[in-house]
């Protein structure tokens, strides 16, 4: 029982981590709380639904395309709508609400409200100790690990990654040092949406695909990011796994509703007691 709960928790947690990373990165770099984050997840899933489901493309290629589509859309939206609102926390937050509504309704108009399902590219289960692990979840988890490793390498090794970390830490000094903020904003927003799109694509066969599917992952990302500290990358990692585990335990013991209430109560407690989150520093 305990093994099963831990395995389930970690499997869910990995996806939360990916969602939360993108969300927290945009806040860290642009001071924007992006309520549209879940919609990029949804777009990744919709692309997988079209390419893998309707055209029969290989699953992973479809996921990659889903991620890229979400990422590109993110870059365009950042440039057109968010650039003018960088560091204006309230207007940019409301703008993100508008973006969320527009993306949702566009998909609603094109695809209709029905929840569609994507054929599972993998089936069956394997056992790890006394825990039963479905193969499709395993593949999602492996995919998530690859994405995380890639993101980590990008952040640590590439020049753009370095520039992004620099801007997150100290925008003024970085601009003095010659970091071009505009490029970093585009890259960060695109990257964040790419991550969300990949997560959505990976999860497409697990749940159904529809215009509103991004809302719950967005909610989870939000919880994770508050737990870990808004703007903190290690915090998002820790928070994601923590939420995955606590949810798994609480929903097994009680119900998923109770698990969700508990996670929001945790958020309330954290914001009141330690607004910077578990790993965050108080932003200036």
């Amino acid at each position: 029982m305990i093994e099963q709960m831990i395995v389930n928790g970690l499997l869910a947690g990995l996806i939360y981590v990916i969602m939360a990373l993108g969300f927290t990165m945009i806040f860290g770099i642009m001071r924007i709380v992006n309520f549209a984050h879940g919609e990029f997840y949804m777009i990744g899933a919709v692309v997988v639904f079209i390419l893998a489901g309707s055209f029969g493309w290989p699953f992973f290629l479809a996921v990659l395309c889903g991620g890229l589509a979400a990422g590109l859309l993110g870059v365009v939206i950042e440039r057109a709508l968010f650039r003018r609102l960088v560091s204006e926390e309230m207007p940019s937050m409301i703008m993100s609400l508008a973006v969320a509504i527009i993306l949702q309704s566009t998909v609603l108009i094109v695809f209709g409200p029905a929840e569609q399902s994507v054929n599972r590219p993998f089936s069956g289960v394997w056992t790890l100790g006394r825990a039963v692990v479905p193969w499709d979840r395993t593949v999602v988890a492996l995919g998530a690990l690859v994405v995380l490793a890639g993101f980590y390498a990008f952040l640590k090794l590439s020049r753009l990654g370095l520039a992004m970390r620099a801007v997150a830490q100290d925008p003024e000094t970085s601009s003095l040092m010659g970091v071009e903020a505009g490029l970093v904003y585009s890259a960060a927003f695109g990257m964040s949406c790419l991550l969300a799109g990949l997560a959505g694509g990976l999860m497409a066969p697990i749940y159904t695909v529809g215009p509103y599917m991004g809302e719950l992952p967005m909610l989870k990302a939000f919880v994770v990011v508050i737990l870990g500290g808004l703007g903190s990358v290690p915090g998002a990692m820790l928070g994601g796994l923590l939420l995955g585990l606590s949810e798994s335990v609480l929903s097994t013991q009680f119900s998923s509703g109770i698990a969700l209430i508990a996670s929001f109560l945790m958020v309330l407690l954290i914001v009141v007691v330690r607004p910077a989150g578990l790993m965050g520093r108080i932003a200036r």
Partner: protein, 307 residues
């Protein structure tokens, strides 16, 4: 001065329109406007303090469920249940305010968001009390002084009275010394506090009032519709209120009023093209952020001087 008089006259005429059209459906839309306008006021009041509260629909829900359950389960007379709903909404705000209102900016938004979600989930999960997602049926109609409010237009009149009352009270506050104190707090908290302004106490007072207003709106809604489900009290509800306040403008109490008149009928007018209503909603919100930062009210002001 003249312009503002014209505006009030136009609003008064507008309020009578449902009777000219005599259509029950028009009365329904009008009633929803009179329920949502005080809600928008309650969010606008907090915006005046520089705090965006996502929890307002939660207070509305608390008022709605409280009024419905008090009259159904405890047999409280409906007007008393309505009043209690408002008071419980206010008390919830009073209880959470001293903790929440120490937090500012984005964190306050996120805090009230989480609080709203908790309340929403409680409505959804506590099925023995609220009926959960399948809803709460059989809410009685409101009876005032032995008169049973059974028709849609009865609730329209009730909503209208409550809206006008809220408008007058909030307008009075805005024009009074309290308005100046609140504006001062929002503009320069450090200065206000150095002169002795008890910032938290003022914020809590405003928050409590906003919770009360939302609670009463919820009660009217419950008795009007006669059925409750958690849906209208979730995040969607807050988005509606944000849209109303953004489009209407937050500079003056007229903003949320005009915003509600424009925004609330929108989904109803677009009934045939349901999937397009969300899109138009989103585009309006986006346009209002880009083009009219101060909202509809500022358009009038820019042309006609100070409103």
């Amino acid at each position: 001065m003249k312009r503002i008089t014209t505006l009030y006259a136009a609003l008064a005429v507008l309020a009578l329109v449902p009777w000219f059209l005599g259509n029950r459906y028009v009365f329904h839309i009008a009633t929803m406007i009179t329920i949502m306008t005080p809600m928008a006021f309650s969010m606008g009041l907090m915006l005046k303090l520089g705090q965006l509260s996502i929890a307002q629909p939660a207070f509305m829900g608390i008022g709605a469920y409280a009024a419905a359950l008090l009259s159904m389960q405890l047999g409280l007379p409906t007007p008393a249940a309505l009043l209690c709903g408002g008071l419980i909404g206010g008390l919830m705000a009073l209880a959470t305010g001293p903790v929440f209102l120490r937090i500012k900016g984005v964190y306050f938004v996120l805090l009230t968001y989480a609080f709203g979600e908790v309340i929403f989930l409680i409505f959804q999960e506590w099925t023995s009390l609220t009926g959960g997602m399948s809803g709460l049926y059989g809410i009685p109609k409101l009876s005032l002084f032995g008169f049973r409010l059974a028709q849609t237009y009865h609730y329209y009149v009730l909503g209208l009275v409550f809206t006008v009352l809220c408008f007058l009270v909030l307008r009075g506050i805005e024009k009074s010394n309290i308005g100046a104190i609140i504006e001062a707090l929002n503009e320069d908290e450090m200065l206000s506090r150095s002169i002795g302004s008890n910032a938290i106490a003022w914020r809590v007072a405003a928050y409590t009032l906003s919770g009360f207003i939302a609670g009463i709106s919820g009660g009217i809604y419950a008795f009007y519709i006669g059925f409750l489900s958690p849906d209208p009290f979730g995040f969607r509800g807050s988005v509606d209120l944000i849209v109303i306040n953004t489009i209407g403008g937050t500079g003056s109490i007229l903003g949320p009023l005009l915003g509600a008149i424009v925004v609330v009928p929108l989904p109803e007018l677009l009934r045939e093209a349901r999937q397009y209503q969300l899109l138009i909603y989103g585009v309006c919100l986006m346009a209002s952020i880009i083009f009219i930062k101060q909202g509809l009210v500022s358009l009038g002001r820019r042309r006609g001087g100070k409103a």
